[in-house]
Subunit: 429 residues, 2 copies
């Protein structure tokens, strides 16, 4: 088909009329579909049902070192869980703290602790006039929600296919000691599915921030969440790189099993330097006596080791790969060559990022919703929900059954085309 | 035996010599016993092993309302868990938020949130020059640890057998708007095992604090943790009393199943007014997507309802009642009539509180430790670890096997007697 941008007014109008009829058909279908959140689907959850058999009343709930997982204690997590999660995160178990069920909660608490008590003896952020964070954008809405909630000023940084604009990051952090952190999803980023290049990781490790309490919030949410057996993203391990670069304390690295076993009933973790660990554990001892060791043991017994976890992730990939491919095929089929949008083709993670023509994203999402398909709110991927070009839409293909997903993706492309046509008609002659 | 306070110098010396020989015998035994923490023992933990069978791979992990517990969401907890915990706490399920595994964590987060964001629109505490808490003392060391960590000034309030000195509480909170809270363990208090009288609860509900953001931190840790079938403590329900008194927002009430199922793998909860709930849930939505619903479901399926939980608690009582009685018998036998100490006789909870002669507690604990028996550090039951009379020692009888416990209790009384004799000899003629 001819690119919309090449069409004259009459062609645009004809095309729009035809699409309106299609859209009306969708509206009559009374759809209730959801492509808004990065949630695993039922088939994915079923993959982990075996974990419910990993422990039962006849099983000894003791660790290898004899610790009774049923009782109080072990604030940093049981050793065998640290080994498993260490392998998952590519970190030494000694650099790991195992938490409860939510890495978001660990990130929130990390910011909250910095607010009330500061980092490694530095002034608590709540005592400072201004605290700022760099936010590679589009990015993860729940990251931005934490920093916004704490009144931290968020500065968007362009996100490229190889990672954040490092010239800008280096420049800003070296000049302004009010900049205390940056949110990163280094692998299969939310929402683009981009992975940082080796050079970007190296430059992160070599940052020279003006603030001694600047930290990289490295949310490795999709570290082993590949879609393909081959063509997997590899990125250098950030803790090791920071240590080599003489910046050992620069990074907090987060991960969880939320999208490996059960979201909400997994285990979360933080990997960081010994100095940071000591700082954090001192605080943590006031907050809790320990996290859920029985659930840590349950995970260990279910997976055995990292090899078991990798095999498990292949099963996840087998479930969701067809969904990604279905959406991408529909996008290509219905939008390819029209010159009204671009989208990413991820090799892992949970999202596809769609870039519409400027000023169209909000209306596209609205149009889809009116026909019964819920998308992530437009703007959500930007700090303060302000997408300066109103162009980014996060597409989450994992949750709906594939037949529903195909309908939702088809409808989405109809909405993209309609809204783009209307936009073009505003200035067409 | 003659009261030590009636003995002359020579009698005291003779008694001390004899006890030194006994103490030497204990030292030779190379003991490693622990009466320091309120931890359930192995037999108690075994009572909940059936919970490990409540869920397995063949069981549907859906709630009654169809919610799939395996996936994200439901920030305030699943409905059936709210019903069960509501019955446990004597609160309407609608007034309850179910959290993760630790009520201590909920209390910490509640203070932390007040620090960074304030309560119901009031100034965040971190922006105030001075924040103070009332601390009925002796009290729970981990409560005091939270407020100390946040730099909150702690004011000890005498703790009587019927609750805190309410004249003092009423006077202080009505005059000083820097006083923002009070730590309470209203039933089977830590460490005395005291329960607040009806009048004390009524007076709490009718407090007229100068600070609009004053809150009662009502840690109902031992609400159903009775030692006896009869002779159970009953106290009025504080949320209901506050509502009746026109003070609906005055209280945060905390509880957990840590000492019902598995410490560290239970579920924690908070009950409070609709206004406070709204305030808290707004914050919580930035911190997490939800707590561990699978574990909530596991608890519900295991207990069925509150009746199942009450039956379960009777089994706990059967395990630990003989331990309490063994310690109390040894105290009575070895210290009765000597006039060198007093101790409480709890009907529930996890502790016995021992009051030595002034200036002896620290040395008694030290002496016991030297012979291989670990007690809670003297002073721990007071804010800043400063027991003004150096007289309170918390005794935790639940964890050691009963034979070990008897040895530890015997040794403890030897230490009490030795240290008291030495103290009396300082001024004997």
């Amino acid at each position: 088909m001819k690119a919309y941008t090449e069409m004259n007014k009459q062609e645009l109008e004809t095309e729009l009329e035809a699409l309106k009829l299609t859209y009306d058909e969708y509206q009559k279908m009374d759809l209730h579909l959801d492509m808004s959140r990065g949630k695993p689907c039922r088939e994915q959850l079923d993959l982990s049902m075996g974990m419910m058999d990993a422990l039962n009343s006849t099983v000894d709930l003791s660790c290898e070192d004899g610790t009774d997982c049923r009782n109080y204690g072990v604030i940093d997590g049981i050793e065998e869980a640290k080994v498993l999660i260490g392998d998952m995160m590519e970190n030494n178990p000694d650099n790991i703290i195992i938490y409860g069920n939510s890495s978001l909660n660990v990130m929130y608490d990390t910011v909250s602790r910095a607010m009330t008590h500061g980092i490694l003896g530095n002034t608590p952020w709540c005592k400072l006039d201004k605290v700022k964070f760099l936010c590679p954008s589009p990015g993860y809405d729940r990251h931005f929600s934490i920093t916004e909630y704490f009144g931290i000023e968020m500065i968007p940084v362009p996100m490229n296919p190889d990672g954040p604009d490092m010239d800008m990051v280096e420049d800003l952090v070296s000049k302004d000691d009010a900049i205390k952190g940056i949110w990163c999803v280094p692998k299969y980023s939310n929402p683009q599915g981009y992975s940082y290049s080796q050079e970007v990781v190296y430059r992160f490790a070599r940052l020279k921030p003006a603030a001694p309490d600047f930290r990289i919030f490295w949310d490795n949410a999709y570290g082993i969440h590949h879609l393909y057996d081959h063509d997997q993203a590899y990125i250098p391990e950030i803790l090791a790189e920071c240590k080599k670069a003489g910046n050992p304390d620069l990074v907090y690295k987060f991960a969880s099993t939320s999208k490996i076993t059960f979201p909400g009933s997994g285990i979360a973790s933080l990997a960081t330097s010994p100095n940071n660990m000591e700082d954090i554990l001192k605080q943590l001892s006031h907050q809790t006596i320990g996290h859920d060791k029985v659930n840590q043991l349950r995970h260990v017994r279910f997976f055995g080791d990292i090899s078991g976890m990798v095999d498990h992730m292949k099963k996840h990939a087998d479930v969701i790969r067809p969904k990604f491919e279905a959406v991408l095929n529909i996008f290509e089929q219905n939008l390819g060559g029209l010159n009204i949008g671009e989208w990413t083709k991820p090799m892992g993670g949970y999202f596809i990022s769609f870039e519409s023509m400027d000023g169209c994203a909000n209306e596209i999402v609205h149009r889809a919703k009116k026909a019964g398909v819920k998308m992530t709110e437009a703007g959500a991927t930007w700090p303060y929900h302000k997408d300066p070009k109103d162009s980014n839409i996060r597409v989450a293909p994992t949750y709906p059954p594939i037949d529903d997903l195909k309908i939702a993706a088809e409808l989405f492309t109809v909405c993209v085309r309609m809204v783009s046509l209307e936009k073009l008609l505003e200035t067409a002659e």
